[in-house]
């Protein structure tokens, strides 16, 4: 597993600077506009990091070669989810840092808006990973590309809807304002965790049955 993650990090390293810059830009725009859409795009970007490594793997026939190594297909699948999770974690930390700086600079103190944004960020990532990865592990990058593009279009559309309602968002809400919604927040987190777990199990099942 460690070797697989090191390999993927080497692949990401090639375009790592651009990932960080674009994520930071989207986060900054998201914070300045109070827009969910740009943060959703960073979540999409985190999900895409592993997809890019899958593309490199398939083009270099690494998948077939990895079968001859002392690593299982389960480990191969898990490494992709873990890489994407790490990317999402970095994006989230960047967002928390950015939002905290913005709140402190504006003198409003740390707002509860951060929690709703974080929930949207994580659940967007969870749904995208849950939707895309099993398809790609089942059909491969080549065949799964059409479905992948379709999913991107759907996600972009949803982002657009969020973007159109951004003006109605109240970025000055406080923790006490959202306390009654804690239950909903927990449900969203649990639901995301459940669908990602199902997605992992499906990916392991599909990938385990494929001829490479």
């Amino acid at each position: 597993m460690k070797g697989l993650l090191i390999k993927d990090l080497y692949l990401v390293k090639g375009y790592g600077t651009s990932i960080i810059l674009i994520s930071a830009l989207f986060i900054a725009i998201g914070i300045m506009n109070g827009s969910y859409a740009f943060l959703m795009l960073t979540a999409l970007y985190s999900a895409m990091i592993s997809i890019n490594t899958m593309s490199y793997d398939e083009r270099g026939h690494w998948d077939t070669y990895a079968d001859s190594l002392p690593v299982s297909r389960t480990q191969v699948v898990l490494s992709k989810y873990i890489l994407s999770f790490i990317a999402m974690l970095i994006v989230w930390i960047l967002y928390l840092a950015g939002q905290t700086i913005a709140d402190v600079c504006s003198g409003t103190g740390v707002s509860a808006h951060m929690l709703s944004m974080s929930l949207i960020l994580w659940s967007s990532w969870g749904f995208m990973v849950a939707l895309l990865y099993p398809v790609l592990f089942r059909f491969g990058m080549e065949k799964g590309r059409v479905l992948y593009m379709l999913a991107i279009m759907v996600i972009s559309g949803v982002s657009g809807i969020f973007l159109s309602i951004k003006d109605e968002l109240d970025v000055s809400i406080t923790v006490s304002d959202i306390t009654p919604y804690t239950g909903i927040a927990v449900c969203v987190i649990v639901l995301s965790a459940v669908i990602v777990t199902i997605s992992v199990l499906l990916s392991i099942h599909f990938y385990g049955k494929r001829d490479l």
């Binding site: 460690k2 070797g3 697989l4 090191i6 390999k7 080497y10 692949l11 090639g14 490594t53 490199y56 793997d57 083009r59 270099g60 026939h61 690494w62 077939t64 070669y65 079968d67 001859s68 190594l69 002392p70 690593v71 299982s72 297909r73 389960t74 392991i204 385990g208 049955k209 001829d211 490479l212």
Partner: protein, 295 residues
């Protein structure tokens, strides 16, 4: 003990008109080199992929270094025995933007017995720049890199799929020397597939000929070369030979040339020595001709 034991292995891909592997059985004794020979599409790569676990077989069994390969439950198998296997595939094996140095670092975390010093020695010996990207390597260099990886973790078994194909004679000779060196240890075994039979003649103890998914012939190299010979004669003389004497033949205006089983041809005939290449060509032609006659 057998390094590889394949029994009654069958595999048919979806949408394929014939099985890629049809009841294939072969053994590779430990300490030996087995050459798998056959034309393109004969099933060599499918067999090697079935052994590595990349291809799920329909029936039969595979035992590698005493460990059963259960294709149906790839994720449940104990993968530790793969520590002792080195693989070189016919196609690319590494993502294009990785360098030999990066690949070494990855393998260090995958193989318990990874020997970085040995790997670096191979890189130097093969003239591979550790900072150059994989996509910038020529095919020969890519093969050398795969071989360096396969031989840098104290493997006991090498699986080599077309490892020498497409390479110039100098590089091929260099690689064959490496394989010969590897098999000096009596616990080391090699399964090598190729359609360059001259390479196989140089290093193999056993030869298995696979044709349209079936093992047509599997024996020691010397036994195969001793068994057959080339006979030049007329078509009439050829027709008079006993059944099973002719394994394959071709006719021209100047007479017939046939691959014959020496023991079934009278001593009075002058039979020439035969190369492995000729044996493969004639036997494949004989099988195809008999199929056409049967139609």
């Amino acid at each position: 003990m057998e390094a590889i034991k394949v029994s009654n292995l069958s595999k048919r891909y979806k949408k394929s008109s014939r099985p890629s592997l049809d009841n294939v059985s072969l053994d590779l004794p430990q300490g030996c080199v087995l050459g798998l020979v056959g034309e393109n599409g004969a099933g060599k790569t499918t067999l090697i992929k079935a052994i590595t676990g990349s291809v799920k077989f329909d029936s039969g069994s595979i035992e590698v270094l005493g460990h059963d390969i259960d294709a149906a439950s790839q994720n449940k198998t104990d993968d530790r025995f793969r520590q002792d296997i080195g693989t070189v595939l016919a196609e690319d094996s590494f993502p294009e933007i990785m360098t030999a140095g990066m690949i070494g670092n990855v393998m260090k975390s995958i193989y318990i017995n990874w020997d970085s010093a040995c790997y670096n020695r191979y890189l130097e010996k093969f003239g591979l720049d550790s900072k150059k990207k994989y996509k910038e390597y020529s095919r020969g260099m890519k093969m050398k890199l795969s071989i360096a990886v396969a031989m840098s973790h104290n493997a006991k078994l090498l699986l080599l799929d077309e490892a020498t194909s497409g390479l110039d004679p100098v590089v091929r000779d260099q690689l064959l020397d490496e394989f010969n060196e590897f098999t000096r240890d009596e616990n080391h075994s090699i399964l090598i597939s190729s359609h360059i039979t001259s390479d196989l003649e140089k290093i193999c103890d056993y030869i298995a000929f696979i044709h349209e998914g079936r093992i047509v012939m599997c024996d020691t190299k010397d036994a195969i070369l001793d068994k057959y010979g080339i006979l030049h004669c007329t078509d009439d003389v050829l027709a008079e030979l006993e059944d099973g004497a002719v394994a394959g033949s071709k006719s021209s205006d100047y007479g017939a040339e046939a691959l014959v089983v020496r023991s079934k041809v009278p001593d009075t005939f002058d039979i020439s020595p035969v190369s492995l290449d000729d044996i493969i060509v004639y036997i494949a032609r004989g099988i195809d001709n008999s199929k056409e006659v049967g139609r």
